[in-house]
């Protein structure tokens, strides 16, 4: 199966005759009778019925919204001519052809729907110096416009061709002259070929009804009975039964009139028969006999079934098996372009791809449109809660200020207690939150003063330690001192490890127990009886505040 086959596997084929319309798609067919006005135009109710039934037929079988269809039209009203044009370019050919049509056809080109095909198969539209042989088919434009209108109502874009030419696709192409005869009910289409090229197209006023009429007259029976006998001929040999010879004689006489019509204008070698009235098995032999035995007649086998005909099979064969070999397309409109069959699947995917691309492009913008209100709402909520943030700021600054401005009085006392040598007596101690420390007391000697100051400085807690005054007591036993100091700023003190160690805390706990056991021991530790230091506050041995004036 070729790619083209796949595309065209569900293509629609139509044949519009004088009295019927046949449609074939996939494996299903449809046949509708046509009602025409005396002018040959379709009646209004007929158009409506066609539209409804065809639309229903297509909906069952196809999801496509619009599809192309090859449509073969009958020969009534159609002119087929062979023309010879001088050599010209491909672009100039339609113009030449138009002038030729204007000269040879009874109607101007604007009123005609016409198409052509070059008979030079090897080099169509040649630019060589030689003349070009063309076959031109033309029909009144209004006829095809009417068909187009009906089919467009069903979502069909028709591509018109001639049914007689389509039929020739299913028969062999013998050398020399041959014809294809499609026998209808009241008339027949006779198209003749020479060396594979169409030469003439004729409508013969002879059809299956002529055979019925001949039987009716010969046997003197009603038309219905004659019709039954004719239909029986499709399956039974004409020689059987009592009426056989009479019927055969009647058919023979009818075929003689047909042969006379054909033979008057044609002298080819072979005729291919098709059409409903050509289903009689003996008709080819009888026609050959009627033609005097000089013409070979052969019936074209067409699979029976609704919607099937030689023309439709020819169209199908042309599209599917001959790789889309050029059909003679009759253009309704002036524009001569390449007619493309509907290929919905690629267009569908292209449309989906375009939609996806468009969606991808639009997505960031869609996101903005959709999510912006939500984001704006959230931002508004944040704005409303900005007051809370201000409160957090205020509380944080306030608490941080209190924290950083809490003077380290206990740390300073601890450092001084650790640095004080044994026997130190402190008379007064003043500190303020600016870090100024003033201490007045007495020590055993000047050496202790030096040690005390050195330890204070070494602790890293104080930036300045000044012994403002030291003087011996009148009994020369002690040294009175007045010391001022300045502790370092908080940032500089952060790295210091100030406070009692774990051992000192344990010692303090032990001391507390001893105090409970004896007040005298408590007095020895420098603490008044019944007083317990807070956790973490330990006074070193030898350091004591004065016990009041003794």
């Amino acid at each position: 199966m070729t790619r083209l086959d796949l595309v065209n596997s569900t293509s629609l084929y139509l044949e519009i005759g004088q009295s019927s319309l046949k449609a074939f798609q996939g494996n299903d067919g449809l046949e509708l009778t046509l009602e025409r006005l005396p002018s040959g135009r379709l009646t209004g109710p007929c158009k409506e019925r066609l539209t409804l039934i065809l639309r229903d037929f297509l909906l069952k079988k196809n999801w496509q919204s619009r599809m192309g269809a090859f449509c073969a039209v009958g020969a009534r009203g159609v002119s087929l001519r062979r023309m010879t044009l001088p050599a010209t370019t491909k672009e100039g050919l339609p113009q030449f052809l138009r002038l030729q049509i204007e000269r040879e056809f009874p109607l101007p080109p604007d009123e005609l729907a016409w198409g052509y095909r070059s008979l030079d198969v090897a080099q169509p539209h040649t630019t060589a110096a030689g003349p070009q042989e063309l076959v031109v088919v033309a029909v009144k434009k209004e006829v095809l416009e009417e068909y187009s209108e009906v089919l467009a109502g069903c979502g069909i874009i028709p591509v018109f061709t001639l049914a007689a030419l389509a039929r020739s696709r299913v028969c062999p192409h013998p050398p020399g002259s041959y014809s294809v005869l499609d026998i209808g009910r009241n008339h027949s289409e006779f198209v003749s070929f020479e060396n594979g090229a169409p030469v003439s197209l004729r409508i013969l006023t002879w059809g299956g009804e002529n055979i019925t009429h001949a039987i009716q007259e010969k046997l003197n029976i009603s038309r219905d009975e004659a019709e039954k006998l004719k239909i029986n001929l499709d399956t039974e040999p004409v020689s059987t039964g009592e009426l056989g010879p009479l019927v055969q004689s009647a058919v023979g006489s009818a075929l003689h009139s047909l042969a006379a019509t054909i033979g008057s204008n044609w002298n080819g070698q072979k005729i291919y028969l098709c059409g409903k009235s050509a289903r009689q098995k003996e008709i080819a032999l009888q026609l050959a006999k009627a033609l005097g035995g000089r013409v070979d007649c052969e019936r074209l086998e067409v699979m029976p079934g609704e919607g099937r005909s030689a023309a439709i099979l020819g169209l199908k064969k042309a599209c599917e098996q001959e790789g889309g070999a050029p059909l003679l397309v009759i253009h309704v409109k002036e524009a001569r372009g390449v007619v493309r069959m509907s290929q919905p699947a690629p267009w569908k995917w292209a449309a989906v791809a375009c939609a996806l691309l468009f969606g991808a492009l639009l997505f960031p913008y869609g996101e903005a449109l959709l999510l912006k209100p939500r984001l704006a709402k959230k931002l508004a909520e944040i704005d409303r809660s900005a007051q809370q943030l201000a409160t957090i700021d205020q509380e944080f600054n306030f608490l941080e200020y209190i924290k950083t401005n809490q003077p380290p009085y206990l740390d300073a006392a601890y450092v001084m207690a650790n640095a004080a040598p044994g026997g130190t007596r402190i008379e007064s101690l003043s500190m303020n939150h600016a870090g100024d420390v003033s201490l007045r007391g007495s020590m055993m000697n000047s050496q202790q003063v030096v040690e005390f100051r050195s330890k204070l400085i070494k602790s890293g807690f104080f930036s300045i330690v000044t012994v403002e005054e030291q003087s011996p007591t009148p009994d020369r036993q002690k040294m009175n001192v007045r010391i001022t100091a300045q502790w370092k700023p908080a940032v500089a003190r952060e790295s210091l490890a100030i406070g009692p160690s774990a051992q000192e805390i344990e010692k303090a706990k032990a001391g507390s127990k001893e105090k409970k056991s004896g007040p005298q021991q408590a007095m020895n530790s420098g603490m008044p009886p019944g007083i317990v230091l807070p956790p973490g506050v330990v006074l070193p041995p030898g350091f004591s505040f004065p016990q009041g004036d003794q």
Partner: protein
């Protein structure tokens, strides 16, 4: 009505197509510009939201630290009443001193420096053992009031052996002053 010639029909068709293309392009351009503006606004909002998010992360840290400090000081600044905080703080200090063995004598109260965002200044004189004074100093910051000990003076009590005399100068801070945007003049 006169039937239009092929040439006129073609002209009308071309004009119609051109007008349709113009309208399509114009409308498309306007629509695109509208969408682009919306998107630009949205992106600005996203930037703003990110900035706010970073701010909020900072505030999360601040809130954690506030919680820590409030637990340390046993104080919720939002619950402090400007009208009563001085009295309540004074009462709490005296109770803390009394429970620790410090007997307070005269207490002097004065207006604080508004420039330093102080609500009041208090000077307290008390007597007690050294450990009880140290304990009081330790407990002052966790009384639940915004107090800062401005100065401490410890001297021996000449009248009562074994006791020390302590003079405390305490500042009570004004939280309301922090509600203005000015930085504190500490």
């Amino acid at each position: 009505m006169r039937t239009l010639s092929d040439h006129e029909q073609r002209t009308i068709r071309i004009a119609g197509i051109l007008i349709a293309v113009y309208l399509l392009l114009f409308g498309g351009w306007r629509g695109w510009a509208f969408l682009a503006t919306k998107r630009h606004d949205y992106q600005n909002m996203i930037k703003e939201a990110k900035r706010r998010k970073q701010q909020l992360e900072v505030y999360q840290d601040k809130a954690a630290k506030i919680k820590e400090l409030m637990e340390k000081f046993h104080m919720d600044p939002a619950k402090l009443s400007r009208a009563s905080v001085v009295a309540e703080a004074s009462d709490a200090i005296q109770k803390a001193g009394a429970s620790g063995g410090v007997q307070f004598g005269p207490i002097r109260e004065s207006h604080g420096h508004s420039s330093a965002k102080e609500l009041a200044s208090m000077q307290l004189e008390g007597n007690g053992s050294l450990p009880s004074v140290v304990t009081l100093l330790n407990r002052l910051e966790s009384l639940g009031y915004p107090v800062i000990v401005d100065a401490v003076q410890i001297t021996p009590n000449a009248m009562r052996p074994g006791m020390v005399k302590v003079t405390l100068t305490i500042l009570i801070m004004d939280f309301e002053a922090w509600k203005s945007k000015e930085a504190p003049n500490a």
